[in-house]
Subunit: 353 residues, 3 copies
Amino acid sequence: MSPPPHAVQSQADPVSVWTRRSLLGLQELSAAEIRSLLFTARGFSDVSTRSIKKVPALRGRVVANLFFEDSTRTRLSFTLAAQRLSADVVELTETGSSVSKGETVADTARNVVAMGVDALVVRHKAAGAALVAARAVDCAVINAGDGKHEHPTQGLLDIYTLVDTRLKRAGGVDPRLEAFDLTGLKVAIVGDIVSSRVARSNIAGLTRLGAEVVVVGPPTLAPRSLESLGCRVEHELDGVLGAVDAVNMLRIQFERHSGGAGGGGGGEATKGSPAFPSLREYKQAFALTRERLTRLKEGAVVMHPGPMNRGIEIDGEVADSPQSVIFRQVEHGLSVRMAALYLCVGALGSRGG
Amino acid sequence: MSPPPHAVQSQADPVSVWTRRSLLGLQELSAAEIRSLLFTARGFSDVSTRSIKKVPALRGRVVANLFFEDSTRTRLSFTLAAQRLSADVVELTETGSSVSKGETVADTARNVVAMGVDALVVRHKAAGAALVAARAVDCAVINAGDGKHEHPTQGLLDIYTLVDTRLKRAGGVDPRLEAFDLTGLKVAIVGDIVSSRVARSNIAGLTRLGAEVVVVGPPTLAPRSLESLGCRVEHELDGVLGAVDAVNMLRIQFERHSGGAGGGGGGEATKGSPAFPSLREYKQAFALTRERLTRLKEGAVVMHPGPMNRGIEIDGEVADSPQSVIFRQVEHGLSVRMAALYLCVGALGSRGG
Amino acid sequence: MSPPPHAVQSQADPVSVWTRRSLLGLQELSAAEIRSLLFTARGFSDVSTRSIKKVPALRGRVVANLFFEDSTRTRLSFTLAAQRLSADVVELTETGSSVSKGETVADTARNVVAMGVDALVVRHKAAGAALVAARAVDCAVINAGDGKHEHPTQGLLDIYTLVDTRLKRAGGVDPRLEAFDLTGLKVAIVGDIVSSRVARSNIAGLTRLGAEVVVVGPPTLAPRSLESLGCRVEHELDGVLGAVDAVNMLRIQFERHSGGAGGGGGGEATKGSPAFPSLREYKQAFALTRERLTRLKEGAVVMHPGPMNRGIEIDGEVADSPQSVIFRQVEHGLSVRMAALYLCVGALGSRGG
C-alpha cells in the first residue's frame, strides 16, 4: 500500500495498534483501537476539502458494496471514501433477485471475493450478517449496519464529530482531546433506542472513551434493560436536556417495530406505532423542538444520523440552528470510512502486497 | 482545474461569459450564455471520437447523479460526460426507499454535498426541484429535467445538432454560424408540447438565438396559451411540414397527462389518452410517416429526443432515413453535458481550487 | 490500445487468430478461436493476484453493461474485468422503465453506442438479443446470456477451469494442455439442460476442443433431442458418476420452465415444477450428495455455475469439498472476461485507434 497521509505517518503508534482485517462493531474494540480509527480519520479529513479529493493509498484495490438491505446514503459515503483512497468500487445490491435465488450470505461473499475484491462493505437486515461474511472470506469486511446490532462507522462518525467539536473549541491543543479521551462528556441519545444499531454502536464507543451516555425514550423504545449496555435510561427528555453536552436525535424507525402498522413509505410520518399511543404524543414528549433547544446547555450540540423527518423528531429550525452539527456528521462520515477501509485493508498488507 | 481544451483556450471570450455555478434552465440565460455553452461543447466534441476518451479537466472532482425520477439514458449521458472529464461519478437514485423516509430534496442535496461532491445532476418529477437543490447547496447544480419545466441540456443538444448540421453544410466557415446565430432557422416541435420540458427548453434556447419555433399538436397538447413562450402554435402538421428546416418529434408522454389512463409500461402505445380520442387519430394527424417525410423541404432534418416509439409518433423508416439526425443528437448530448459540467464547476474554481 | 501483457506478446499467434469484434456464442467459433480466448485469459490470470489489479490495455475505453435481464454476479464479473483493463464502465439496467417506454433492443444499443461506448455487454431473456445488438452497432458486443441460447463467457470459464486444473496437476508442462486440447476429457453436465444457455455454451466449447460431454437429467430436462448438439444424453446420474473427469451441476431454473408454477423468489426451492413430480424425487435422482461424491473417479472435479442452492442440486459438504472448484470458476471468470473484452475491442483497434 501507498504510505499513509502525513498526519498519520508522523505518529505511527495509534495506527499500528490496529491489527484487525474487519470492522464488525465497536463493542469488541478496545479504547486504543477506537482511537486508532479516529486518529487515522483525522489524518484523512483534509482530503475532502481539496479540489482534487484523492490519495493513492488503495490504488488498484477493489472495494465491493454488498448491500442486502438498501441504504442510499451509507452506500454513497462508502463509495466516495473508497474513491478518495483511489480504490475501484463495485456495487452489489442484493435486495432483489439474487438473494431470492437461494444463495447464502457466506456463498455470496465468497463469490465476490473470488472475483478479487479486497474489501467487502456489508449491509444486511439480520444481526450478525457481517460476521458471517467475515468468517467466510479472508479479505477485509466492514459492517455497514446489521439488523439492530451495530453500525460501527456511524458510531465512529458521531464520536469523531464530538471530538472534533471540542478540539476546535480548545484551539486544537488540548492533549487529552488529542488522545480522543471523552471523560466527562455527557451525551443523550433520544428516540427509538431499542431498534437502533446506531445507538448500540454509539453507546459502546462513547463509553469506551470515557463519556457518559443517557438514552431517552418511552419505555417501549428505551426499556430499562438497555442499562446492561453501560448507559443510563431515562423516559423524560426535559429532565435531561440541561445536563448534556450533546443530543443525538434518532429517526423513528416504524419499519423495525414488530407488529408496527406504520409500514414503510411516506405514510410513516402520519401513522401510529404500537410503541406509543400517537405520533403527536411522541412529539410532545420527545421531539427536539425550537423551545427545547433553548434549554440546552451553552455549547451543547445537536446531532442526527439522518435521514431527518423535519417536524417529527426534530424541528426544521433546530436542524438548521448553529448548535446543529448534522451536516458535519455527514462530512466526517467520509473520513471515518476512509480510515476503516485503509486500516482493515492495510492489516492485510503483507498478504496482498 | 486543468486548462480547457485548445479550441476553447484560443478564444477565451465565449467561455468567460459564463459565471453561473448552476444550469437550471435555458429561459433565464442570455444568448451569450447559451453560445458560451455551445462553444465549449464544440471544444469537447472531438474527445468522443478519440480512442482514449478523456481530458483531465475535472480530475479529482466528484459528480453526483441525484435522480429522484428514473431516466436511464440521461443519467448514462451525464455519467459518460463526467468520466470523459476525468471526474468520479456517484449515483443516487432516490426513486425508492430513501425519499419515502421523509427527507426533503434540500436535505438530500445538502447531505450529498456534505460528502464533498462538486456537482449535482438533479432529476425530479416536480418543477423547480433543481432550483430548490441549488439554493440549498453551494456546489454546481445541473438540472437534468424537472417536471414539465425544463431539461436544459436536452434543449442544448438539440440546438447544438442544428448548428452543427448547418455548419458542416457550410463547410465550417460561415462566421454567423460560428457565432451560433440561428436567425432565419425555422423549427417545428411536434406532439405533446404541454407536458414537455424538452419543448420548453428548446423554445427558450432557439428563440434566444434567433430561430423561429412553431409547436404543433392537437389543442389539448398544444394549447394557444403556449404562444406566451415566444413560439407559434399550430394544430395541423401537414400545413407546417414544407416550411421548416427541422422537425423535432416528441414522444407522447401518456404518464404525464392528468387523468390519463395510459399508465406506464408497455401498454401505453395501445391505450388512449384523455388528450385525444384515439391513438390512431393522433397518428393520422401528427405522426411523422414515410409519406410526410417526402413533403419536408430539401435539407430539413428530423429530430427526436428519444426513446422513440417506432410506428407511433415516428415511422421506423423515417428514423433511419438520411434526414434523421436522431443518433447524432445522442452523440452531441455528451459534448453539451461535458460543457455544462465544465463551465459550472469551473465557475466555482476560485473557491474549490 | 496499450500492448498486451507479456505472456500474450511473446506468442503472437494464438491472439492474432482472433478477428471478431463480437463474442456471441461458442457454437460459431473454431477451436483455434476458443484457444485464442483461453490463451489470452491465461495471460491475464495473474493480474487478479496482484495487489494492484490493473493493466492499461483498455485505458480510456468505455464498456457498457446493457442488462435487460438482471444478473448481479455476471454483471459484477464483467465490471471488474473491465476495470482491471483500466476501462471505464457504465451500467444500463433496463429491467424497469426504459424498455417499457417502447424502445427496441437495436435502438437502445444504437443510443448507447452513439454516446461513444467501445463495448456492449448484453444480457437479455430472449435468445438472439446480443446478435440483434451486434448487427445494430459497430462496436464490440459480448453476449452475457441470451435466453436459453448461449452464455459464452460462462462456457469459457468452465473450460478454462478444466484446463487449468489439469495443467496444474501436470506441473504446467504438458504441451497438449498448453495448446488447450481436451481430447479424452469426459464431462458430465447435470440438471436442467434444456433451459440452460450455460450447458449449450459448454457443450459447444468442450466438444470443439476434443472433450466428450454427457448431459444428465430427467427426460423433461434432458431430452434425447439434445444429442444434436454433439453430446450424449443420460437419464441416470449414478451410472455416469464413475466415468467422468468433471461434474458440472446446474441450478434448477424453475422460472424458465414453460407453465412452471415455481415463479421466482425464495419459494422456488420448495415448489414443484411441471418438469418432474417433486423436488424430493429430483434430488434423489440427480443431486450431487455427499454419498455420490465418493463414487467420483479419483481426481474428478465438481463444478457449479452459481448461484448454488445448497441442499437442492448440491450438498453443502460437496460444494466445500476438496474436489470442488466452484470458487475457482468464479475467479477464472474474470480472466476470461478480460480476454473477451480485450480481443473484441482489440479487433476494432485499427478503427478506434
